[in-house]
Symmetry: C2
DNA sequence: TTGAAAGCGCTAACAC
DNA sequence: GTGTTAGCGCTTTCAA
């Protein structure tokens, strides 16, 4: 068995209470005692049992994150930042992958609830009411989704999408296809909102396609529909779909950007490695991940009068898949 | 506060002990009692507190996984499978990212040790002695690394690299550059082992370059060196480096595969989306991830006489970046 | 088959 | 400033 607080107490010739205090509230013990306890703890290699501590304090020192797909670099980008920031704050992190299934998303939060102080939730597919329901089980911070009363780390997708249309219009495009991600996804709604606003402003002719699975395969499928609609530019819901579109167009001998311009969204690392490199919108995932953890930690000892929702800026990255149309 | 075992006991008109038994050792209670308890538990939405249970059983119901880089799809591929398999077995999973730092890798395992029943360790940079040292802290399964006495989920990288050379030789290449990953990495050693064997067998002229950082930037840097060495084929340690090589060659106006053939390793999804698509070796990451969890779970209730090390097969994927050399 | 009670490792009153 | 003690939610003897 591992070394317990009792072993340390014995070794330092004090009571277990003093050891506990020396470790968690140093100001409550005499400096010399504290030193002695700390020395004993170090010699023994003592590590407090967090589960036992949690049982009594009600805090676990853990946070959770649930994401729809760990194969999607967008979410692992968030995850990486979340885990880094959490570790810095001395929290450990549980991950769960819902496999894009809303039912699983809710279930996973509930399952985690007992073991964490709060969770960062990336659940684009969950209904609002469901989100409120799971919010009852544990403290929640939403990532990339805004809901009244729930803290959130957001990214300005609408603004990014507006910039995409501004860019295409500037190049001379008038007829544009938008490849929808999942209809109910907050992310898709936001992107579409920015799109519609820009489209209306510029009087662009919009062909609204989909919804498609926000995956490579979805792009493969969407490409043919977009081509049939005879547009000069294809705006994909995200990079992965755009990559699928690019692959399909290449297979069909349709040149990008010669015959058609294509844009993605997210700025995944690998999207810049295609030839031509993808024009896309950079999402500040790392920043949002860090922010989410900060919000969560703040939320845990706040009176909840103020519900922070922080928006990080997106940025259009113009690369090789967009040029003026031929006709 | 959440609903406890006491609430259930009260509701079912039994003692807490009976509730506990009904939930964990059904055969010890009368069927009717059991039914009554289960009903009460369901009505109340009771979920046992795992921390409290762990305190007494010594098992946490959690496993950990530590990886060098959550931005690397290779590791998130493993992670996804690990988490899926763990959830299936009713385990929750902790993740930690060491940021490629061996010191952090060891520290993270120690930090996790108290909260998990075991950990899946992806630590290419850790020294053997360090691995044994952390193995003292908790049950370990190594991923993609073989060490006597420690269970491991392996992939036949050496075989995959041998197949790469066989392929290049068959195309007519005689002078090949190998771009090393980190020298001390087990993975690089394995790949190099397969390479050396094949090179010796075929009498290929090998230019051994590096080590380089196993990242996109490493490939950027390596490309120029490989070109200067005047080889007809470049074998990269992994796909990410190969992607860097491709980008750099494109920038320099060197055609692939016209002027030089390039191969990667790992078969990341996005490696198939470059133009031309990358010839590479598929690593069975999902399979290895699942296997790792299975091994860990088995290990937990085994007598440790048998140390399983399971090797999954790799597969050469020939795509567009390899052709016969011009000269 | 069930209940009473001890106790896992720890923190938080409450005494001193 | 420090020790004693109760008890967090649960499982597991030990009796009945």
């Amino acid at each position: 068995m591992a070394v317990t607080i009792r072993d340390v107490a014995r070794r330092a010739h004090v009571s277990v209470a003093t050891v506990s205090r020396a470790l968690t509230s140093p100001e409550l013990v005499r400096p010399e005692t504290r030193t002695r306890v700390l020395a004993a703890a170090t010699e023994l290699g003592y590590q407090p049992n967090r589960a036992a501590r949690g049982l009594i304090t009600g805090k676990t020192g853990n946070i959770g994150i649930v994401v729809p797909d760990l194969d999607n670099p967008f979410f692992t980008g968030v995850l990486k930042a979340v885990q880094a920031r959490a570790m810095q704050a001395d929290y450990a992190v549980f991950v769960a992958d819902s496999d894009e299934d809303p039912v699983a998303e809710a279930k996973l939060v509930h399952a985690m609830a007992k073991q964490v102080d709060g969770v960062v939730l990336c659940a684009p597919g969950l209904e609002d009411s469901q989100v409120y329901e799971v919010a009852g089980a544990t403290s929640l911070v939403l990532l990339n989704r805004r809901l009244p009363g729930v803290p959130a780390a957001l990214m300005d997708s609408a603004g990014g999408m507006h910039a995409v249309i501004d860019h295409l219009v500037a190049l001379g495009h008038h007829r544009v296809a938008y490849l929808n991600g999942p209809r109910t996804s907050w992310s898709n709604q936001e992107r579409r909102r920015g799109l519609m606003k820009a489209v209306a402003k510029h009087g662009v002719d919009l062909v609204d396609l989909g919804p498609f699975a926000p995956r490579y395969e979805g792009g493969l499928q969407a490409a043919d529909l977009a081509v049939a609609a005879d547009t000069t530019a294809i705006v994909a819901y995200n990079d992965i779909m755009a990559l699928g579109v690019l692959a399909r167009l290449r297979d069909r001998g349709i040149s990008v950007p010669g015959d058609v311009s294509v844009t993605g969204f997210d700025d995944l690392t690998y999207a810049s490695l295609c030839s031509p490199a993808l024009t896309t919108v950079a999402m500040p995932v790392a920043q949002a991940g860090r922010t989410a953890v900060n919000l969560l930690l703040d939320w845990l000892d706040s009176d909840h009068t103020d519900v922070p929702q922080i928006v990080a800026e997106t940025q259009l990255i113009v690369r090789g898949t967009t040029t003026p149309p031929k006709r």
